[in-house]
Structures are given as C-alpha cells and as structure tokens.
Amino acid sequence: MYFWVLQSINAFAFGSLLFLIASGFSLIFGLMDVVNLTHAIFYMMGSYVGFFIFAHTGSFLLAIIGAGLVVALIGAIKYRFFLLKLHGKSLNQVLLCLGFLFVFDDLLLIVFGGDPLILDVPSYLQGMINFGGIYFPNYRLFLIGVGVITILFLHYFIEKTKVGSLIRAGVDDEEMVRAMGININLIFLGVYSLGVFLAAAGGVFGGVILGMRPRMAFEILPLALVVVIIGGKGNIKGAYFGSIVVAFMDNFGRALFPQLSYFTLFLPMVLILTFKPEGLFSNNKIKRRTIT
C-alpha cells in the first residue's frame, strides 16, 4: 500500500515536470509542423542558466523567469534566422534542429564545464509532508501544483483568448489565416518562444530533481516524443494526459520490471500507434495532417 501510494503521487509529480517540457514541444509541433528536437537542449539550458542565477541571487522565482527569458531569446533567434529560412520544409527543419542539439550540447559543456550539478530546493519548499505515515517531499507536491497551473493557463490562453483562437486556426489551416491578412509569422515566433520558455522554466523546476550534466538532453528527448505521440500533436490536454501516463509507466515499470523498464515506458506508445495512431486526444482535422 505504502509502495503504491508513494509511487502514484510521485508519478504525478514527475509527469507534471514532463508536461512542462512536452507542452511546448507539442504546441510547436502542432502549429508549425516543426519537430523541435532542440527542445530537450533548451530544457538543459534552462537548468544551467537557472543554476547560475539561483547561485548568484538566491531567488528561485528569479531563476525561473530569468532562465525562461534568456533561453526563449536564444530560441527566438534560432527560429528567426534558421528555422524560418526553411519554412515549409518540415524534414529539413527536423534535421536542422538535430544539428543545433549537438551544437548547443557542446557549447553548454564549454560554458558551464562538465561537472554534474544539481539545484537546491528553495528553503520555503524544503521538508516533507506526512500522509498518514507516508512521507512525501513538499517540492514534489509543489511540482504537481505547477503542472496544474500551467495546463489551466495554457488551456485558457488557447481556448479563450484572441491570440489563442488564431493559433488554433493556424493549426487547422495556415493558409486561411494568412489570407485573412494576419501576420502568422509573428504568431509562429511567439509560440516558438513560448514553447522554449516553458522548456527552460521546466529546466529550472527539473534541475532540482534531475540535476544537469552533458548529454542529458538525449535522455529527455524520447520522453517528450512519446508524450506527443500519445497525446496527439498540438493538443495541450493530450500532452498533460500523455505526460502522466508516461510517468506512471516509467515509475511502475522501473519498480516492478527493472530489467524491462524502458520497454514498459514505450508500450503504451506502441499500443496507441497501432490502434489510434493520431493520438488519444486529437480531433479529425489533426488526424488528417498526421496520417496521410
């Protein structure tokens, strides 16, 4: 019982963290058809920059905002001067992102050195909470809250605001939005930056648990991919659900079938690809684009 409850809460916490990374990835993929493989390295960058800011100012909040903005700026530059030049060539864009993944990974090693680092839990989030004999770290509960707030915000932003409706329209039919005389390039740039911001902020939140080290991006990346495959591209609710599913599979897989842990993580993906290849939460319009 102890084991199951603890693991379940933990899966929620880990899933919330995953959602921060995957939601931006999914948004960018959904709107621009860009499989942003660089996303995982933006996460890492967020961790490192956040560590730097936290070490110098001692403010966790500042670390999150600062890292998010700095990395989002780098992302915006990358989008404007590289990705945009290949607009419409999805496969070339993926490969470009792959190139950036390697370049940024090595640059991080040059700038921050190869020492593994880990962020400290801010003092006000330290300690544990006791659920009838089950101890659980406050920080992880906090992460669950961050996940919920993020999905509420993104949901409101996309479903209820004018910009959000343009984004939705852009996902469905880019040409139509262009024809309406709207500068969709600006929206693309904005969504890309927002996605990168989420990844970088996730890097700060995650840096407390996962720490940072060179080449870590290559381990984060597949998780984000699986989340999007399960949740459906561009779908925020799907990304949240997918993150939680992946986290549960990972948590229990590791504990119950340690030798096959990675396999259990990918099992739901294989099942969904077989029976509902457009993802669990996508509507028909998206289906039309995903599956030719």
């Binding site: 058809d33 590289f82 290949l86 496969l91 370049v103 991919l225 599956i291």
Partner: protein
C-alpha cells in the same frame, strides 16, 4: 563525351574503385588505416541501407542504429553466450532483423513525414533501453564482450586484413543487390511514392506494402552492417544503438546526398574519417558535427554528390537523369505530402 558514353565510364570508375579497395591492404600502410577503412565500409553499408528509405522512398528514419545495433547484439549474443559460428550467428542475425523490421514496419510505415521520423526515434529508444537495462542478456551498460573472431569452415579471420576482405565482399554484394532493387520496377514505384504517394495510390499501387518492403530491406541491410560490426569490434555496447549513432548515419546520407547511389558511401568516408582523425587536434568533435549538419541542411540539402555532379558533369550518381536533384526537391515536398 564522344568516345566513351556515360554508362561505360561509370562502369570503369566502379571497377577502378573496387580494384583500389582490394589493393589498399596490400600496400605498406599501418593496420590502423585498414581498420579505419573497414569501419568506413561498414558505415557505408549502413548508410546505403538507410538511403533506400530516406532517399528513395521518402521516409526519414532516425532509428536505424536500432536495427544496426540490435542485429549486432543478436549475432554477438549467439556467438559469446552460445558459441555459435560466424555463419550461423550471421544467418540468425539476418532472420532476426527481417522479423524485427517487419514488426516495427507494420506500425511505423503507417505514418509519414515528420511523424514517421518521431516514431522511428521512439522505436530506436525501445531497443536502446533494452540493451541498456536488460543486463542479464546484453551485458547492460558494460556492453557485450566475448564475441569470437569470425571463422568460416575452420579458417579464422583474425587479422584485420583478412576480415577487411569479408567486409568488402559483403558490401559489394549488398550494393549490387541494392542497385538492382533501385533500378527495378519496385524501385521506380518507391520513387513514385516518394514524389507523390497519393497519385501512386490512385494509380492502384499498394503504397503501404511497397513502403513496408522497402523498410524491411533497408533494415536488413543495416542489420548486416551490424553483424559485420559486432565481429569487427568483438564488442557491442548500448551506444551503438543510441539516437546519436542514428543521427550520425543520417548525416552521412545527407552529406553525401540522399537519393544518390554512392552519396551515402561518400558521406560515410567523410564523417568517419573526420571523426577519427580530427580528434588528434580538438575535442570539439560534437560541435563540429553539429555545425556540419546545420551547414549541409541550410546550404546543400541535396548533398555533396549533387554538388560535384553539377560542377564536374554527371559522372557519379545513379544512371537515370530523372533522379537528379531529387534530394532537395522531395524534402521540399515533404510538407505537402504530410498535409494532403
């Protein structure tokens, strides 16, 4: 060219190339270079296998290291744990990879474009994860050791030169086979699918079946490269399966030129040599690789073979001219294919 036509010139060049590859080990060169050349040939085979999908079918896979590595593991495990002979473990490896690629293909080929690419990464990670965590069978992070030296009918190919000739022989056979496939009606159908799969469907072609078979052939060639690799190193480790290896092979295809016959081999020569020789000067190989990647994608998406061809006449590349310039075009069309 009045005296010799393009076709016979090409044949002469190929014959010359093979001759050079046969002679090199007989020259007084360090065994290191023969080993390096062996490695280049293995990766050339892997890249040519991937090219059948990327360049000729229009399916970009970033999971081919999984086929390469898992077959290497399969042959390696049979050799080290069960003492199977070189030929027996190789045969088992080929059967294994056909089944594995067949199974993965059933699911993966249902998607196209960037979705196909994402799924291929995820499949690759499944194999990577197994190789890493299923330590009872694969040796886990320690890698698989104890693979014997290859031997055929009692003759042990212990020296690097003798094994080099095996690799060369297999590469030539596979290339010939690949050449015939690409130039068969099946191959032409694949190129039709790459250009416009909707049209091929309406013309009555079974697009799924064709893509699936191409996927299996491509995976099998990569698997054969994996077997050669397992016996080359006497050792397999999870990094051989990782997405980084997949990315490297993809880069060979792109640098050389997707959809050109010898492009991937050229890419393998460049990437493997650079990786091994640059390390004497700098530790920034990853950075350099990333920059090459970006430059190639931004500026020469058609690859070096196209570049050379445009500069020095149409000597390289596959015979029929209808195929020239495809590498760049098709990826431009990628989006419309995905959207249709």
């Amino acid at each position: 060219m009045p005296a010799i036509n393009n076709n016979s010139l090409k044949k002469i060049l190929i014959a010359l190339g093979i001759l050079v590859l046969i002679i090199i080990p007989q020259l007084p060169v360090s065994s290191y270079y023969i080993n390096l050349l062996s490695l280049i040939l293995i990766f050339a085979l892997l890249a040519m296998g991937l090219n059948l999908l990327v360049g000729y079918t229009g399916l970009s896979s970033l999971g081919h290291a999984a086929f390469f590595g898992s077959t290497a593991y399969c042959a390696g495990i049979l050799s080290s744990h069960y003492g199977w002979s070189f030929l027996a473990s190789s045969a088992a490896g080929v059967i294994f990879i056909i089944l594995l690629a067949g199974g993965f293909g059933l699911i993966n080929v249902r998607s196209k474009g960037v979705t196909f690419l994402m799924v291929s990464i995820a499949f690759g990670q499944i194999i990577w994860g197994l190789s890493q965590s299923w330590s009872a069978v694969t040796g886990g992070a320690n890698g698989l050791v104890g693979i014997s030296d290859p031997s055929i009918f009692g003759y042990v190919f212990a020296s690097c030169t003798s094994y080099y000739y095996i690799i060369l022989f297999v590469l030539i056979c596979c290339s010939y086979l690949l050449y015939r496939i690409i130039n068969s009606s099946f191959g032409l159908t694949l190129q039709g699918i790459k250009d416009n799969s909707k049209r091929m469907t309406s013309l009555g072609y079974n697009v799924f079946l064709h893509s699936w078979i191409a996927y299996i052939i491509s995976g099998t060639l990569s698997g054969i490269a994996g077997i050669l690799y397992a016996y080359y190193n006497n050792f397999v480790s999870p990094t051989d399966v990782s997405v980084i290896t997949s990315a490297k092979v993809m880069m060979m295809v792109l640098v050389g030129g997707a959809g050109t016959f010898f492009g991937p081999a050229l890419g393998a020569i460049i990437i493997v040599s650079l990786e091994n020789l640059l390390s004497a000067f700098t530790n920034r190989w990853v950075l350099i690789m990333g920059i090459i990647y970006i430059l190639v994608v931004m500026f020469t998406p058609a690859g070096l073979v196209e570049l050379i061809k445009n500069s020095y006449g149409k000597v390289f590349s596959k015979g029929d001219d209808s195929n020239s310039n495809k590498g760049g075009d098709s990826r431009e069309r990628g989006r419309s294919t995905v959207k249709s």
